[in-house]
Symmetry: C2
Subunit: 285 residues, 2 copies
Amino acid sequence: MESKTIGVVGLGLMGASLCKALGAQGHRILGRDTDEHVQKYALLTETIQGELTEDNIPECDYLFLATYPGAAVETLKQLAPKIRKDAVVSDLCGVKQAVCEPCFALAEEYGFTFIGGHPMAGKQFSGIKYADGNLFQNATMILVPRKREDLFLVSRLSELLRETGFKSVTVTTAEKHDEMIAFTSQLAHVVSNAYIKSPTAAEHLSFSAGSYRDLTRVAKLNETMWTELFLDNAEHLGFELDCLIKSLQEYRDAIAAGDAETLKKLLKEGRERKEAIDTEWQDKK
Amino acid sequence: MESKTIGVVGLGLMGASLCKALGAQGHRILGRDTDEHVQKYALLTETIQGELTEDNIPECDYLFLATYPGAAVETLKQLAPKIRKDAVVSDLCGVKQAVCEPCFALAEEYGFTFIGGHPMAGKQFSGIKYADGNLFQNATMILVPRKREDLFLVSRLSELLRETGFKSVTVTTAEKHDEMIAFTSQLAHVVSNAYIKSPTAAEHLSFSAGSYRDLTRVAKLNETMWTELFLDNAEHLGFELDCLIKSLQEYRDAIAAGDAETLKKLLKEGRERKEAIDTEWQDKK
């Protein structure tokens, strides 16, 4: 692909990784971060080729918002008047309804294109220090275009992103994204964070098993970011938490009652469910 | 170590892996399984050198019970009169109070030594087909001797087990083992098995994240075995489930109330807890 000028707002783990991945493909990367030290570090390490300013916004063919959801919307409000009408703007936020609705409205008002995005990639660390140009290798990218978006523009963005190593791009709605992500990612983070709070956790060292390590891997999270993501998706995450609490209570009751038949039935249902989903997953690969 | 004769009852994943690991060290392995096909397969694949029978029980220097807990106790009742007084008997069961109490009594009655055991190793598959002589490499072995057990006998068993690759042996009480294992392993299996039951699980394919995969890895469990293990440890597992349900409900309530301050506090507590435990773990390594 010919070299494009790409603006990235927010140089944390995701934003800076995107800068590295796209920079490695020969594009010109302009970036900015509210933290001055991060901004300088990005320039020194050549993660970005220049600072993204109000003056050079019109040079951008693509613009990515890689901040928390609320800040992404605020930034776009501020930059919208300078964005070229043929530019494609996207974001990397973990919720889509809270971001896409106001951003679609701004795109409509100012004439550029906004397509929501969420890379299914990450690390249990945050910040530019951990940025990695290979972070998106073999991951899936979720894209959320407006209902009647020009498919040519979606495919233009999709092709640019594939240069960074994504193995597939899934196009969906903001509602569907938020419903699914509440289950696959947000619920996992809440459970992991709650799991470690058992009073037994402090004494278990020699008894640590692989299952414990897996269950608590994502407990070490950035609470400021996740608080915003969870509250932006309160309805779906609340639904998932209710399902899980109700289900755990069923096992709890069967154990308290010494009811082997019910407990075995509950465990069998879970095993069969997991097997069916793994099989379907294997078939779709 | 000089070659010993070792009897193994139960040739599933754990028992057959132990046969392979000890056989590779030059010991003579006698095994038996209630499933005739498993028994034949073990002989054909040279996982065992011969069948363990009532006649050759007195030849055994060590005897391992690698069945479900209830069957381990029943087997020992049946074999006890034939076991040599200088033999050391152990087991590989996932709960220790339910196994050790009756087995200590049998050892006392018949004059041999019983030391409970639980290898902190496993796979999400079961059966002799998946047996692996390297399963115990770098794992921890938990041993549960009687309060006033001869330390020479504990160390004799410990040395034999280290030949299979265990990197450490932890000596503890049955009570402490069951309390810890409820948290590190049993709770993880219940949560994983419950997690997959969300109605969203069937539709999430493109949205699958690493956190989802980790949380549901052990959902595919052997419900017959785990029902027995859970009910044998009902009190401790019940306690852990109550803690987790209560904790999840706190996040749930903060999310429903849109209470960012409380939600952030809950998440911060979990992160700090995980960091403190990981640091302690690192220090002890």
